[in-house]
Symmetry: C2
Subunit: 456 residues, 2 copies
């Protein structure tokens, strides 16, 4: 069987019974992380502008947009969920192929479930399948596809959204093949857009386009049946080198959710070890920041190529400053969204540590590592070597750390009581009778009962 046929048949026929509990649990963790990102991102200007611009084009407003009061048709809700959940670039990553896998799939699923009856278990099952489909397609074309300049999160993500929604719509295998074809037809997004609103638009559009693909396929809108492997198909057209065997190898046995990582810090990945190590020193020794007289870092050479920024003119630059990374770790012990605002950049306590921090490149230090020495006024030196940075695949965030991240994000948009309720619902997603409740309860002012009423 061809790659396209194999994937389509797997999605259609899988009943979830052979998916191990640890994968279901990882899916819950991915959803928790996704919802936190989507809630906090929902108040960003990119979402506001898209909502204002597209409002006149919405069909019946049956669907929720995560974190917002405004309602839209489910296809627009998928787009808006995608923009909001990616705009902070704080979402999950599978390092093996560099996709941010949850966005396209979960953005479409939450939009759909908020407007249609979907049980929590069916939702989570469709999420696992969609995650697997996009991951395997990404695996097949990575790294050539990414290096060529494709934003692989959206170009592969559209297939995941199509598969997940297609599963819930009950497509036949033939229709699922068409859905993948219609996804291939719409696969788009280039890295030249990084640094602009168009970046988060891309995975949003992937969610919306994959959803559209599934709807059309259900109505027998036909597509080419060799979307992935055909001579003019996705792999051949978008990757100089590819390996289609990665699509089927271990399908149903090996799960890409095992390879998912969650960012502990709202900053560039290469400064994560410094934030992590400095936060550890703060927790362990609780030094008064005023007593710090020097900070010396030994870092991978790439860190200085990318993040040798001490004079921060825009808040965004703080996410790529190795000096700011040390400062927030030592002064605040964390690196959430609020550590990278204009206010944080202007904080004199942070500015002071940035000034007295130095960093030297060391070929023996990997990008997951850092060596730290902190001199205190009394003559003492605190030191630490980080072997594996928190949040990487070998040292994942535990459930409590994920919850902490969620709180730090969601509290920007919602009151604490609602945030705590959402955390509980994410963990219990697959026991919800109506998965749409979770989406509805992210709206400002929503209460459990009000949300239930909206949904009825």
């Amino acid at each position: 069987m061809s790659a396209t046929q194999t994937l389509a048949a797997h999605v259609v026929n899988d009943d979830g019974s052979t998916i191990p509990e640890r994968i279901w649990q990882e899916a819950r963790r991915a959803i928790l992380n996704y919802v936190g990102c989507a809630v906090s991102g929902s108040i960003e200007p990119a979402v506001d502008v898209a909502i204002d611009t597209l409002a006149p084009f919405s069909g019946a407003r049956t669907a929720s947009v995560i974190g917002r009061r405004e309602r839209f048709d489910p296809l627009h809700a998928a787009l808006l969920n995608g923009i909001g959940s990616h705009v902070h670039e704080y979402d999950d990553t599978t390092p093996k192929n560099y996709i941010h896998p949850s966005i396209p799939v979960a953005s479409a699923l939450f939009a759909h479930a908020s407007a249609n009856p979907v049980s929590g278990r069916d939702f989570l099952h469709a999420f696992i399948l969609g995650f697997e489909v996009e991951s395997r397609i990404a695996d097949a074309v990575y790294p050539a596809h990414y290096e060529a300049g494709w934003h692989i999160t959206s170009t592969a993500g559209v297939f995941g959204a199509a598969a997940a929604i297609g599963k819930l719509l009950g497509l036949s295998t033939r229709q699922m093949v068409w859905a993948l074809g219609l996804a291939a037809t719409q696969s788009a997004g280039i890295r030249e857009m990084f640094g602009s609103m168009a970046k988060s638009f891309q995975p949003g559009r992937a969610a919306q386009n994959g959803y559209t693909a599934a709807l059309l396929a259900r109505a027998d809108f036909t597509a080419g049946e060799r979307a992935l492997e055909g001579p003019r198909g996705f792999a051949a057209v978008t990757a100089a080198q590819y390996d289609l065997s990665r699509i089927s190898a271990g399908l149903g046995v090996d799960f890409s959710l095992n390879d998912n990582a969650y960012k502990p810090y709202a900053a560039g990945l290469v400064v994560h070890p410094a934030i992590d190590g400095c936060s550890q020193l703060r927790r362990k020794y609780q030094p008064d920041p005023e007593t710090i007289v020097a900070v010396r870092l030994r870092v991978a050479p790439l860190v200085l190529d990318l993040c040798n920024k001490r004079d921060l003119r825009r808040a965004l630059q703080s996410k790529y400053s190795i000096y700011h990374a040390a400062a927030i770790g030592l002064v605040r012990g964390k690196g959430g969204l609020q550590e990278f605002t204009a206010q944080a950049v202007a904080d004199p306590a942070l500015a002071r540590i940035r000034e007295l921090t130095s960093a030297i490149p060391d070929e023996s230090v990997t990008e997951d590592q850092v060596g730290i020495e902190v001199d205190l006024a009394g003559g003492e030196t605190l030191s630490l070597f980080v072997e594996q940075s928190l949040g990487n695949i070998h040292r994942p965030l535990d459930n409590e750390q994920l919850e902490e991240k969620f709180r730090d994000q969601a509290v920007l948009a919602l009151p604490s009581a609602q945030v705590e309720a959402l955390i509980g619902q994410c963990w219990q997603l697959d026991s919800l009778q109506d998965a749409g409740d979770l989406a509805r309860q992210t709206a400002p002012g929503a209460t459990a009962s009000a949300a239930a009423a909206v949904g009825s």
Copy 2:
């Protein structure tokens, strides 16, 4: 200035005053050809399925879909216009880059103008600009981009739609740069989908996506500003070789509308010379088909590679049969949509000529040529050599032939009186106060006054 900046500034600043009248006239011809294709294609199943599937997702139904009674929001109307106008593959082509240029631009413009006040002159001006933008982008990446497997009509067309709608929305140059960026973000469509409904979906989506790009850009939704020339931009990502100088060379002086060609026959291009030559023999000698005893063709070798089909099992195959081409020319003197139906395939008069026609490859014959000999029962032989096939860039259809094609197409969907009125309106498009009238008057049952009332 960069390619993206140059194009954006040109579209924003051009006031149309230096566009020669022959280009305005070619634009009217392109619109006439487009509307004929869109009306006849509007009754195809691909359009029906898309309308049924997407109806629940339409916003306020302010826009017309060409050839249909159903109304949609303008973005959906752009998509549906695009599907309908491409589904018969009878639309225009610029042979220099193989795009079908009118569809993405005109599909978006008609959708927009049917819902917003746009003068005929502004409509035609925006069409000329959008046509130029997509053509120049296609020129820059052709042929590598097309050979890689991209459906260049949609991948380049999305830029044309963005530019045309952006012109009507009055974007600033900076916003137009973003519109081109948001178009690049959504540029998609692969040739693997040829032969399925997804093929015509692609230019439809390009129309809709380009339109969306312009709307978002107007609201200052930002995008990368080097969409075309950036290291991760459209050209570098989608073409192994490209020449960005083709985007600016002669801009405002040389017009791609000069290079536009209109298909006279609803069949594969390589059988056009045979239809043309046999139709000429019929017109000149009016032989009774019953008296024809043999037909001998000398054809370019490629013709037999692609079109050596005598035993036609499906109607679609008749479009790629050199034998059927000779038959319809000699028996009917034309090659419209009705010459390639199941009924035409079953017509005994056509089947008889197919059987007695032979074709031999001849290296000295180009793909625009054919040598024809027709033996009659009385011993006479009629012969002709076609040097340039009708419809190619050196022997374009004249206005009357374009009108004849329009009638042949539109009469499948609309009564004759309405068809004649539409022809008149296409020629007078730029003197219409409200270009939307033309779109509205393509609806079955529309009358001039009823359409005007709908529009008021």
